[in-house]
Assembly symmetry: C2
Homo-oligomer: 431 residues x 2
């Protein structure tokens, strides 16, 4: 059940893979130096798109789920990384309070939570779950699909601290992306470590900030390797004042779509890529998977009856998108059993602890796969247990390919670190 | 090829396994706090003996080989641990100079070196090999059994630094145990990190110092778990003035053998163990595997014509053993394909990165297996890729058993850390 890498992946990405392999010590040293200056997010997952001619992150999740998709072989790596993370934050810690996201009715999400609990237990913490859901008034047992059980408890807030009954944690780990605002109970917790910090939640976070930081990181990295940053960088534009219902701000969107399509066309020409450029229009805030639009021509934005018209006037229009990001579309040319697939890299602290493929048979190579019909292939990274093998034919070795994915995943994680520094409301010199 | 755990392992060790599993967060936290106060050795391997009624380290190697015995699945763990180690010591490091031991004519040792080179390359260092052998006058290529090659180069010493031609390392990693003294070329290297430090070599190191530290560690740990430290602690005595050729100091040995046999007999009675106690007499310095004697009765020490008599008067006697350690013998009741086996736990920095079984079909359960005929079963720890599973029947689950081995291995590593602190010639308050 290990998916085959498609052999059609040729050209720039294979050259990039070869370059990365021969530069491994330089790359790892570069990361080491970056992590001396910047703090990695507590945990991160990064969605990648491999177009064959280009490999780029398209979404960076600071409250990752999907830990259930990691193979058992990868778990000791996760435990070791968790140990390193805890040691830095609160080495005396006995207790960890984990706050789940809202999807506790989703069996797969519960399995992911269960994995997280096990990883942190094994790393040396008593882990208990506290709910942001006001409906949880007493300890509640949730059954996991594998016959296990998780107990979720009501939060207890005192003046400066958050805990559970008879449970006072040193660190609070959020697995909730706060897309609907920051609950009172999480505010002003100055005596405990709340991770990730509140401004990593989707209430405050903006994709355009992330990709601005990613651009900075990718350019530095490209300089190190002597390569064109575009090979790992999705271009983007941002519009701050779009009101879909009022149809205002659409000129900004149209302008960016037009400019991006032109730029992509130029790059495609430079590299001899015979594909049709496209851009993706999406909300600048919020998790992936909702309200994304694929646009190949500015005209689509005006045509009523087009998907775009339906998007603007229809269901999605009910959300008044005040901020929009317009991003270069990166097609995915990977497939698992004929279904379109994209790799997801999972990290704890600054370490890659595994990954998986998100596969969606109902979607095209230019569409968002994080949508109904998505499933996951947990074994994808199993072979990456082996170390990269210098000397293998580029594109032919799964460990080599996955090393490259791990590098790009870490670049996006480093960008998230830059982003969180730049947007930290408590920072003194905030730009 | 995964060896089965023998089902005959019952009694105290299974209780201990259950206790360790339920205490995982407390154990891991305890280690975390210890590592805040003490620096782990750079890398360590620990030979364990599982007697079913007792599980104890019998040898702690600070210049480990055997990295070739780790499964490929374990390598990312080794890389991650190596990254953590480098980051602490010399984060800006580009270059690592690795100094091999003398066994460069041994294919298996070369494979172990090759693994080390790969692990540190992948962790972000340019690794080159420099030889202490004066016969190496120019870069020399050594062929590994898998068809690979390693280049070993002559060392270049300047006033304060050691390197190779066009290669100035930040850190020098010794894989040579210095049992024949500390070469001039390694002395007074105050500008670089030399790891492990010189006093970790067998020129200076004494097993009795190690086991004194281990006793301290084991007692602390036993208190944490509320158990009898003897379950993980081999008792020992030491004689500083034994001259085998002159037959002086043998009274000291006889006295310790007698006292230890009495103490072991008492413990066996307490636990209802129907085995014949034995002690092991060996040099207090030097790697395992040479000149070890198994003694079951003080009389054996006097009988001429006995193996002991032969040892004292014979081949082994040519070494004038000035210092001797007399240690409680721990039989090994593990077998791989009917051959007597003992687990070896391999660690980098403070992390367990794998392990293997040392198997010797020509040896008995009370003998040293590190002897001619020894072979290695690299897959032994493969299943330990999975996390321990609380709730499994004690003694029946390989991951649970290996978790326990990892804990005891780390206790011995922590003891080595105490030992190196206590014996550091540069320390100010050296006891």
């Amino acid at each position: 059940m290990v998916p085959h890498l498609i052999t059609a992946l040729t050209g720039p990405i294979n050259e990039l893979e070869a370059r990365m392999l021969e530069s491994t010590p330089a790359i790892e040293r570069w990361f080491r130096l970056e992590w001396m200056e910047h703090t990695p997010p507590f945990y991160t997952s990064v969605d990648l798109r491999n177009a064959g001619f280009k490999l780029a992150p398209v979404g960076t999740n600071l409250f990752p789920a999907g830990f259930d998709n990691l193979t058992p072989e990868m778990l000791p790596l996760a435990v070791q990384a968790a140990m390193a993370a805890i040691e830095k934050i609160c080495p005396e810690a006995k207790n960890l309070l984990l706050i789940p996201g809202p999807r506790t009715d989703d069996g797969s999400y519960l399995m992911s939570l269960q994995r997280l609990v096990r990883v942190f237990h094994q790393a040396g913490l008593n882990v208990r779950l506290g709910s942001l859901d006001a409906a949880v008034q007493s300890p509640t047992t949730l059954s996991t699909p594998d016959g296990g059980a998780l107990v979720i408890e009501p939060l207890l807030r005192s003046r400066g601290r958050l805990g559970l009954k008879h449970f006072d944690p040193c660190t609070i780990l959020l697995n909730h992306n706060l897309s609907d605002g920051v609950p009172q109970v999480l505010q002003r917790l100055h005596e405990q470590y709340l991770l990730p910090p509140l401004h990593a939640g989707w209430t405050a976070r903006r994709k355009s900030n992330h990709f601005k930081s990613y651009e900075e990181v990718a350019k530095k990295f490209a300089k190190l390797l002597g390569m064109d940053p575009w090979l790992i960088l999705p271009m983007f534009g941002q519009c701050g004042q779009v009101d879909v219902a009022e149809r205002s701000g659409l000129d900004c969107v149209r302008g960016h779509v037009d400019a991006l399509l032109t730029k992509i066309r130029r790059k495609y020409k430079e590299y001899g890529i015979a594909e049709k450029p496209f851009v993706v229009v999406k909300a600048d805030s919020g998790a992936e998977g909702r309200g994304q639009l694929t646009v190949r021509d500015t005209k689509e934005l005006d045509a009523s009856g087009s998907p775009v018209g339906a998007w603007i006037g229809g269901d999605e229009g009910r959300r008044r998108l005040s901020e929009v990001i317009i991003q270069e579309g990166v097609p995915t040319h990977e497939r698992v059993n004929n279904a379109v697939a994209e790799p997801v890299v999972v990290m704890i602290d600054r370490y890659v602890v595994g990954g998986y493929y998100r596969v969606n048979a109902e979607r095209g190579i230019d569409e968002n796969l994080d949508a109904p019909g998505a499933r996951f292939v947990p074994l994808a990274f199993a072979e990456s247990n082996q170390l990269p093998r210098p000397g293998e034919k580029p594109g032919a070795s799964a460990p080599n390919r996955f090393y490259m994915y791990g590098v790009i995943g870490r670049l996006a994680m480093l960008a998230a670190s830059y982003e969180l520094e730049a947007t930290d409301p408590d920072a003194e010199n905030n730009g």
